[in-house]
Assembly symmetry: C2
Homo-oligomer: 71 residues x 2
DNA sequence: ACATTATGTCAACTATACACGACATCACGG
DNA sequence: CCGTGATGTCGTGTATAGTTGACATAATGT
């Protein structure tokens, strides 16, 4: 169960000139705690937020978030 | 403002041998009402469900769901 | 005329994404 | 030694995704 969504946000933040969680949060319009929770995969973002995060990194969505289907 | 996610589910259902809403719902593990609401864009699916729907059509996620960013 | 299938609506509920404030830790620079 | 920035936790509250059951309607078939 857990969550079936993984992500590469932390990696992409460091590749993107070491963008901080706070900076990313501001860019995509959520709070710092939300970015922390998503990075830690405590929960998956909404589809809309996933799109905004992917766009913040100028990457296709499936490059940032992966779905592992062992349902 | 409404929702910023649009989708091509209805079109893809008919292209996929006229798959019914009920059949799609079963394939992705949600109820029929959920598919109706998403098709009608009354709300956006979760990221996880979006991945499952895209996979049901064997399409990349961004082929099924679009984000329009006039926030 | 009746049954069935596909689509849609409504209301009440549960689960979860996200906000907000407070507080803790660690690294770094002055 | 102290301040600040970056990361993380906890608790509580709100918004929204998704469920369930009931009911409506149009289209098709027998």
């Amino acid at each position: 169960m857990d969550t079936f969504i993984t992500n590469r946000i932390r990696k992409l933040r460091f590749e993107a000139n070491e963008m901080t969680q706070h900076a990313l949060a501001e860019r995509v319009g959520v709070t710092r705690q939300t970015i922390i929770a998503i990075e830690a995969a405590r929960y998956a973002p909404s589809l809309e937020l996933a799109f905004r995060i992917a766009r913040a990194f100028a990457k296709p969505l499936e490059d940032v978030f992966q779905y592992r289907a062992d349902a």
